[in-house]
Amino acid sequence: MQFPKYFTFWQKVGMHSLRLTAWAVLAFLMIPILVIVPLSFNAEPYFTFTAGMLSLDSDAYSLKWYAEILNDDKWMLAIKNSFIIGLCATAIATVLGTLAAIGLSNPVMPFQRLIMAMLLSPMIVPLIITAAGMYFFYTQLGLSGSYLGVIIAHAALGTPFVIITVNAALSGFDYSLMRASLGLGATPRYTFFNVIMPLIRPGVISGALFAFVTSFDEVVVILFLAGPEQRTIPRQMFSGLREQINPTILAVAVLLVVLSALMLLTIEYLRARAEKIRTGDI
């Protein structure tokens, strides 16, 4: 590390210890996530490193927990369910959330603050309360234990994220473009899809990703609302961790970490793109 010449000895010590602390915190953040990667290749059904693993004996490593996922009907059903529920909930949340964000960003919108607070509330209320309330209400409607019920519930949980990201994208939106389009005779429909949409697309996509992750990661509402037919990956992990702990869960966890890394890359890419649109580089 290069320091300016005027730095005293103690200032250098201070900078070094700051750097050390920062790296220690980063290690605290990352180690729990990284540690499960080698553990998921454990040939023994334990959650810890065996002597063989530490001496890098190739027999101590195995892919059998990954094979287990493929051979287990419950896990395959859970994976399928997670994607079905996640994608349907995302579609609903994205369409409704994008439209609402466009409406809300318009200054003439009446009761803007109040409506915004209501629409963002699914993000604020603890999931246990949401789940209990949904259990009471959806059971009355006959929706508990059905795909429809779970999808509606997850869509409701995902909409606040879409509103927030689209709202942010719209904050740099120049409304005169819309007026120009309408003034030049374009239909509102054409204006929406060919003028507004291309400019806010990064916001819409990252909102959709957030909504998908919310559903994909959600387990409390699933615990209360879903029947055995709608078990998702986190639900399966939850019962696995409570009942019989088995390294298949670690293998699933590693796959989920890979998936989140991909999501993170996509979001970062979209953010860079949105930044360019805002500053007019595109």
Binding site: A100, L250, L264
Partner: protein, 435 residues
């Protein structure tokens, strides 16, 4: 909520939107004014048409369920449905006195109790009354059994003496008082229970002997506070380092903050189970380097709840802190130093006050999220790492006392909304940003 990457861009910035960008009405004719109003109304309707689908959706899918829960916490018609006529008759009876209800009331009750016994519903009544008057369950059940085969015609005339002959306890005022109280369709009983209070014989509100829920609320608040303080202390140096590092380094290191943030909550909880188990990574490591001879009990304790949740919620503190620190001009600190201030006092008195908006935003966020946490305490908490959410889930799923779960949940909701209101005043909800 758990995936929100929030950054409080600037605390105290004006929230909400400007009122309008419409032309002023000065100097216009009446016709022009009405025309302008018409245009404005049309624009309002158009924007409302965009928002309306989601409003309706959220009202049905989210607000109605929450409303149902609030309603369930005070609405409890079970007893009123089981013994409606007895309750009508009891309405005239003075429950504060020393005399039991008259024989005519008891006659009506015996008929209804027989009906319940025939419908196999007497157990429900017993359970309901037993909740507030322990020991009355067996009284009601055994009387119901005995009364089942008697002639209903005779009961309607002379049920009272039969009932009193069966069980002398029916002479007591308490059981009738409890039935009358339990018969109310709307009740605050569940809130009282949730606050460890109860009605005494005189109908006054008094504290219960055993404090369960208030203690649990206090414990949840304590755990949430502990986690908030820990995340604050841990995040501060990292956020400062990231904010002052060169942009390239900061962006690269940011990945190590964002990857855990994007990783599933269940995955991170699983990792902590693998680390903290009796035969887990930490214990085997400590044993292999001979620091300990016996494995430590790390998992299923309050400690494991706190450490796992601190890890999970850390990004919620780092991100707002980082974004505020990023906006602080480093020349203030440099000016203080060059004017002769010692580095540490300069840091504490010049730099730290400027980071308060980020710190308070992160702290409130972490506190709000952790107070209502369910999954992690349920999986790693054991018995003394449980929080208020876990007892709500217990009453929903195991003890089937839904009304109590609803009351506990409503209190928690009230607490969260209060904190959220503070957050809005302090940071502004409209400053929440994602990604």
């Amino acid at each position: 909520m758990h995936q929100a990457e929030l950054s409080a861009a600037s605390a105290g910035a004006p929230g909400g939107g400007s009122t309008s960008g419409l032309p002023s009405h000065a100097g216009l004719s009446a016709a022009e004014k009405s025309q302008s109003r018409k245009v404005l109304r049309r624009r309002k309707l158009l924007t409302l048409a965009f928002v309306a689908p989601l409003i309706i959706f959220v009202l049905i899918a989210f607000v109605a369920p929450i409303g149902t829960m609030l309603y369930r916490s005070v609405y409890h018609p079970t007893v009123a449905q089981l013994i409606p006529e007895t309750l009508v008759a009891l309405a005239a009876w003075d429950e504060t006195g020393e005399a039991r209800p008259s024989d005519s009331v008891l006659n009506i009750f015996t008929v209804e109790l027989q009906q319940l016994a025939n419908d196999r519903d007497s157990g429900k009544l017993a359970e309901e009354i037993n909740r507030s008057l322990p020991g009355s369950s067996s009284l009601i059940k055994s009387s119901a059994r005995k009364i089942k085969n008697l002639d209903p015609e005779m009961l309607s005339r002379d049920g009272a003496s039969k009932l009193l002959a069966m069980q002398a306890k029916w002479k007591n005022v308490e059981i009738w008082r409890e039935m009358k109280l339990a018969g109310a369709v709307f009740t605050n009983d569940f809130y009282l229970t949730a606050l460890d209070l109860m009605h005494n014989a005189q109908g006054e509100i008094v504290a219960r002997d055993t404090q369960i829920y208030v203690k649990l609320y206090m414990k949840s608040l304590w755990i949430a506070l502990l986690i908030t303080v820990l995340t604050g202390i841990i995040s501060y140096p990292l956020a400062y380092y990231l904010a002052t590092a060169p942009a390239r380094t900061a962006n690269t290191l940011m990945v190590f903050v964002l990857l855990p943030f994007w990783t599933s909550l269940l995955v991170r909880t699983t990792s902590w189970i693998a680390l903290l188990q009796t035969n887990g990574v930490i214990n085997s490591f400590l044993q292999s380097i001979n620091v300990i001879s016996e494995p430590l009990e790390l998992l299923y304790t309050q400690f494991s709840t706190v450490i796992a949740m601190t890890h999970i919620l850390l990004p919620f503190m780092i991100l707002p802190l980082y974004s505020v620190m990023k906006g602080i001009d480093p020349s203030y600190l440099r000016a203080a130093l060059s004017l002769g201030a010692k580095p540490i006092p300069a840091f504490i008195r010049i730099y730290m006050p400027m980071t308060v908006p980020g710190l308070s935003a992160g702290a409130l966020l972490v506190f709000i999220i952790s107070i209502g946490y369910y999954i992690t305490p349920a999986l790693v908490g054991g018995t003394d790492g449980q929080m208020i959410s876990n007892i709500i889930a217990f009453h929903m799923q195991s003890s089937n006392n839904w009304e109590l779960a609803a009351a506990l949940g409503s209190l928690l909701l009230g607490l969260i909304l209060l904190l959220y209101w503070i957050y809005d005043r302090l940071v502004g909800v409209s400053n929440i940003k994602l990604g």
